[in-house]
Symmetry: C2
Subunit: 253 residues, 2 copies
């Protein structure tokens, strides 16, 4: 039986990045796409429970069905697995995202929310992001890296309760130096919350962000991306800072 | 100078839990509340950048100012720190949430999204949740635990790039056994995505959730909450599964 691959993203069902990932995934198995019907960038692990969800069938061919959903990427994974896959998917993919999900971007990303959800549900899951926000981003350059990673994970299961966060530098395929397994770099965003005045003289604020990473450590995603490597960070839906458990014991009563 | 304490939540500015936390926090310093103007439960670390944000001043007294914002809890922390605090807050609090943010709830919670954001911004941050979803939840029973934790963190800084996720069992104050520092339990949700048919005969799905935790380990939040303790889990905005870095090295090329 061919592998069953569920695909979602946070840029929405019309994204070229999603379509490209689905085309590559079809080389490996049967594909079900369940993606947001809107741009859901920056929604992290959001879930929808205060209103119902709607699903639309967009197209159905022999080895690929495409649906959109008016929920978040996590909702798409939940409803996709439970109601639109004929069995538990062998692989859940998210992306290809327009723009980096390396370092601190990880925590805000709907792309990554989806793969964390899939691994909580006991599925193999990989998120792909290309460091290019432009509408003409060259997703073809991602293909060899995606093929290598899909072939690998279909033969070597990802550790339990873990997913892979893959970021691809903005380079022609022949200039990508290789693939490196590494850590999430510590970084922050310099928030710019620009205050403006609307036509009826009331203030509003508009958020924009600039990544501040300093000098990333040599074992981190930001370092390897800058060097021209594809990065693979194993991520887990457990936020415990275990290294600080002993020093905090004094708070106990 | 009195400590400056920024408070937010995900249940929205009208929440009794928020007002209770603000009242206790006023014993320790000057308080600025910047909370969502709506229920933002389950929005995780969502951010808003595709539309502007609006802020309303709700009330202003000598030691407490209350604002609402039409963004997410993370947006509230960002705009609160940057535009509505006279200086960097000494402490950022979130809650008191109606319902548990222990174990896997952590990753979906807007309450927790807010404290992760605050620690990324270099602030001390603590999220408080009470294991009670009912409108008549007894927040008074949380007061002694909150006082103990606020006194502690104002004297002993939380480790860098770390925040505290505090959960309080649903018990009268005199039946709470103590406070335990512990790990996030591994758990999942059994999703119920109930399919219904609307009055014009189209399907919709409605998500509800049931926590499945099995037998939680003895060093975990779910274990200690069941035993009647308040739990304190140090959490960090770094998802790297460092224990799996070596086994995944074979994916490199």
């Amino acid at each position: 039986m061919k592998p069953l691959i569920l695909i979602t993203n946070d840029d929405g069902v019309t994204s070229r990045g999603l379509r490209h990932l689905a085309a590559v995934a079809q080389e490996y198995g049967e594909v079900v796409v369940m993606a947001p019907d809107h741009n859901a960038s920056g929604v992290s692990s959001s879930i929808t429970f205060t209103r119902p969800l709607r699903v639309n069938l967009i197209s159905q061919e022999e080895s690929i069905s495409i649906y959109s959903c008016d929920g978040t990427p996590v909702d798409c994974v939940k409803i996709g697995i439970e109601h639109f896959c004929t069995r538990k998917p062998d692989l859940v993919l998210s992306g290809i995202n327009y723009g980096s999900n390396a370092s601190i971007n990880t925590i805000y990303s709907g792309t990554i929310g989806a793969v964390l959800e899939a691994c909580i549900k006991g599925c193999q899951a990989v998120g792909f992001s290309l460091l290019n926000h432009n509408p003409d981003a060259d997703f073809d350059a991602c293909t060899p890296s995606i093929r290598h990673i899909l072939s690998y994970v279909l033969q070597h299961p990802i550790p339990d309760f873990t997913a892979l966060n893959v970021n691809i530098p903005r380079l022609p395929a022949n200039q990508i130096k290789g693939i490196r397994v590494c850590q999430q770099a510590r970084a922050t965003w310099k928030d710019i919350l620009e205050k403006r005045i609307d036509p009826i003289r009331r203030p509003y604020w508009w958020l924009s962000l600039k990544l501040v990473c300093g000098n990333p450590p040599h074992d981190s995603d930001e370092h390897f991306l800058a060097e021209g490597y594809v990065t693979v960070v194993p991520i887990q839906p457990d936020f415990t800072a275990t290294q600080h458990l002993p020093s905090l014991k004094n708070i106990e009563i």
